[in-house]
Symmetry: C2
Subunit: 415 residues, 2 copies
C-alpha cells in the first residue's frame, strides 16, 4: 500500500466523522468562499492549466480531449457559478424520511445522513474536480479525487485554491484529498480501500467504468454508458416523431443521453424513413440500416450486429425496422445499456406497455431522450447518471450522495 495514499485516506476518514455533522451554514459559507477564491485565483489556475495543455499537446492529444482539459476565464467563471448553484440548493442532510412507533413503544426514524468518504475516479476534466468537491461538501461527504494524469497541474491548483478557503471557513482539515500520484497502481489500490472509502463513483468513458467495476472491492455506483433508442410506433404523430428523433440524435451527439438507434414499426417504415433520413443527413448524420431499412433507403450503410450495441457518441445512427412494439422492446432490452429509451406513439396501451416492459433507468413517452439529466429533472445538480440498479438509477443529484441511518428512541425496551 502506497504510504501517501494511506495517509490521505486516513485523514479523509477522520475528517469525515466531523464533516458529517457540520451545519448547513458553515457548508454554504465555505461554498461561497470557494467560488470567490476560484475567481480571485483564475490567473494562477490558468497558468497551471497551461502547463497541462503544453504537456498534452506534446503527447499528441488533440480534439475533444484537449478541449475538455482547457481552462479559460469563462470556464473558471462557470465553475464558480456551479459552486454557487450548489450552495443555493437545499441541504438534504438530517431530513427524517419517515418515523413510526412500534407496539412496544419504540420510535423508529429513518434519517438521511452523508455516505462518509466518497471516491471519485475521472478523466482529464478539471471542471469535474470542482463539481465533485462542491457536491460532496454540500452533502457532508469527505472526498478523495483521482483525476486523469493530463490534468494533474490544473487539479492541484484548483484543489489548493479551494481547500485553503474551505478549511478557513470551518470545513474539517483533510476533508478534500487529491491523489497526486496518477499512476494506475495507485488507482487500483484506491479501489480496494474498503476500510476508508464508502463509495466509489467513476465518471468517464466506458473503459474507465469497466476498469473500476472489475477492480474495485469498494461499492461502486456505475455511471454513464448510454446506448439509447427511440422507437417510432405505428400510430404516432409523424411530425413529433421527426422532431424527437432529430433532437435525440443531433442536439449533442457526444453525451450519454443521445440516441444511438432508431427503431421503426414496419407499417410506417416506408412513410417515415425517407423524411427522417433526409433530415438526419441534413444534419450530417451517418445512417446505418438493417436490410428492411436498406430496401427503403437504398444508399444506406448496412448495419452489422456491432451497430446495435454501439454507443457512437457521434453523428451516426443505426436504424432498424421492427415488427411491432414487442419486437422493439425485445431489441431494447437485449442491446440497450439501460439508460434512456423513448417511444413515440398515440396508443394508450402501447405507451403503458413500453413504460412497463422496457428495463431502463428512464423511459419516455413522446419526448426526447436528451432530458435524462439532473438539471432537466429539476434536481439542480448532477453527479452522474446511474445505469445500474442499486442505490441510484438515472440522474443522480444531492440525494443520491446520501445514505440513511435508523435512529431508535426507547425507554428501556428489551426483547
Amino acid at each position: 500500500m502506497n504510504s501517501e495514499l494511506l495517509t490521505q485516506a486516513t485523514a479523509c476518514k477522520k475528517a469525515s466523522a466531523e464533516l458529517m455533522n457540520i451545519t448547513t451554514d458553515v457548508k454554504n459559507r465555505a461554498l461561497e468562499a470557494m467560488a470567490q477564491s476560484l475567481e480571485d485565483n483564475a490567473d494562477y489556475i490558468m497558468r497551471q492549466n497551461a502547463i497541462d495543455m503544453d504537456n498534452a499537446k506534446a503527447k499528441g492529444i488533440t480534439g475533444a480531449l484537449l478541449d475538455r482539459l482547457e481552462l479559460n476565464e469563462k470556464r473558471i467563471k462557470d465553475m464558480a457559478v456551479g459552486l454557487r448553484q450548489i450552495k443555493d440548493l437545499p441541504d438534504p442532510i438530517g431530513e427524517v424520511l419517515s418515523m413510526w412507533k412500534r407496539p412496544n413503544g419504540l420510535q423508529i426514524g429513518k434519517k438521511r445522513v452523508p455516505l462518509g468518504v466518497v471516491g471519485i475516479i475521472y478523466e482529464a476534466r478539471p471542471n469535474v474536480t470542482v463539481d465533485a468537491i462542491g457536491l460532496c461538501l454540500k452533502t457532508g461527504n469527505a472526498v478523495i479525487l483521482r483525476g486523469g494524469s493530463e490534468a494533474i497541474n490544473s487539479n492541484k491548483a484548483i484543489v489548493d485554491v479551494l481547500t485553503a478557503k474551505a478549511y478557513e471557513e470551518g470545513i474539517p482539515q483533510g476533508s478534500i484529498q487529491l491523489i497526486r500520484d496518477t499512476s494506475r497502481e495507485i488507482a487500483t489500490q484506491m479501489m480496494k480501500l474498503n476500510d476508508y472509502i464508502d463509495v466509489l463513483i467513476p465518471r468517464g468513458g466506458a473503459g474507465l467504468i469497466k476498469s473500476v467495476v472489475e477492480n474495485a472491492t469498494v461499492p461502486v455506483i456505475e455511471t454513464g454508458v448510454g446506448n439509447c433508442h427511440v422507437y417510432i410506433d405505428e400510430d404516432c404523430d409523424m411530425d413529433m416523431a421527426l422532431e424527437i428523433v432529430t433532437n435525440a440524435k443531433v442536439n449533442r451527439p457526444g453525451v450519454c443521453n443521445a440516441a444511438e438507434t432508431l427503431l421503426v414499426h414496419k407499417a410506417i417504415a416506408s412513410k417515415f424513413l425517407p423524411p427522417i433520413a433526409q433530415r438526419l443527413r441534413d444534419h450530417g448524420v451517418e445512417l446505418r440500416g438493417c436490410g428492411e431499412t436498406a430496401a427503403i433507403i437504398p444508399d444506406i450503410i448496412p448495419a452489422t450486429e456491432d451497430d446495435w450495441s454501439a454507443e457512437y457518441l457521434d453523428l451516426i445512427i443505426a436504424i432498424k425496422v421492427v415488427d411491432g412494439i414487442q419486437d422493439a422492446i425485445d431489441h431494447i432490452n437485449r442491446y440497450g445499456s439501460g439508460h434512456s429509451e423513448a417511444i413515440v406513439t398515440n396508443s394508450y396501451s402501447h405507451s403503458r406497455e413500453f413504460l412497463d416492459k422496457v428495463d431502463a433507468a428512464t423511459v419516455y413517452v413522446n419526448a426526447s431522450t436528451r432530458f435524462t439529466d439532473g438539471f432537466e429533472f429539476g434536481f439542480g445538480a448532477e453527479i452522474g447518471i446511474s445505469t445500474q440498479k442499486l442505490h441510484a438509477r438515472g440522474p443522480m443529484g444531492l440525494n443520491e450522495l446520501t445514505t440513511t441511518k435508523y435512529i431508535v428512541l426507547g425507554n428501556g425496551q428489551i426483547r
Copy 2:
C-alpha cells in the same frame, strides 16, 4: 464459463422480463400454492434432508451447523407459514414514489420496480432457500440460488416442490434457479455474471461475505457482521442499563444484533461494573476487561486489542471503561462494524450526540440492540441486515429488494 450455469442464468434473465410485470394476484396465488405444497411434500423433503444430515455427520459436522441443516415437520410448517406471511404483505411493485411536472410540461414519475435477477449466496440453511424464493417472488425478482453444499439434497427437493407449483400458477418458467454444482469455481463464476445478475446478496458468516465482496463484479449488498456496543453513560437509569446490557448480550448471543462490547463511563464504573458482572456471569457469560475494568473486577480475563474487534456470536463480552461520551463514540466508530449501537443515558445532549456521531446502520437510545430486525422494525419480512451504505442500510424488507425507474410523459418535448 460453466455451460449449465450459463443456461440457468440465461433462463432466469429471460423469465425476469416477464416476471417484472406479473400481477400481485398471480404472485399471491403462487405463494399460497407453494406454502401448501411444502406441507403436502413434507415427507419427501425430510427424506432428502436425511441424506444431507447423514453426509454431514459422516463429514464430522456437529453443533449449530448441523442443527441449522436439519428439517423436521415443525420447521417445514414454519417455512410454509413464512411464505404465507410474505403473501399477506403489501406488494411494493408499481408504487409511484413521487411525480412532478417540469416547466416544459414533462411529467416525471419515480416508480418502484423489481431489481431483475437477484443472486443469493448462502450457507447450509435450507430455510434460507424458501425465504429467498418467497421474498424475491413477491418483489417480482427472478432468483438464482447458490446454497451450501451440505444442504444440496434438501435444497433440490425444496426448489423442485416450490417451482412446480409456482409455474403452475403462472410464474414464468425459469424464474427460480438453484445451482446444483456447489463447487467454489461455480460460485466465483456466478459472482461475475454482470450481464445476467443485477444484485448479489450473500447471507452467512463473515468469511462468506468477505469472499463475495472480494470476488464479485456484480453489485453486492453486504449483510450481517455485527460487532455491536452498549455504552452506559454517566447519568443513566442503572436498572435500565442492567436490563439492556443483559438482554443485548444473552437473549440470543449467536445473532448479529447481539452486543459484543460494553462501554462504561468511568464515573459510574465502580458502581455499575460489579452488578452487571454478576448478572452476566449468572447467565454464563465470559467477561474480558480493560485494565480499569480489572481494577474493579479483579478476576476478569484481560482483554486484548483483538477483543475490541471481535464478533463473538457467543456468551463472551468485552468490557471497557471510557473517559466519556466522545471516547465511547470514537471507540465505536473505530472498532464497530456499523451494525447496531446503543447508549443508555438520561442526558438529552448526550442522546443527540450519540445519535448524530455514531456511524452505524441503527443507533439506539435506551433500548437493546436486539431490535435490529426486519420483523421488529415492522417490515413483516427480512432478507438480511445491511452494514454497508449503498442502496440499503440496516434491516432489509421487501422495499430493499426493489429499484426505481423514471417514467417521463411528454407531448413532443425536445431540448
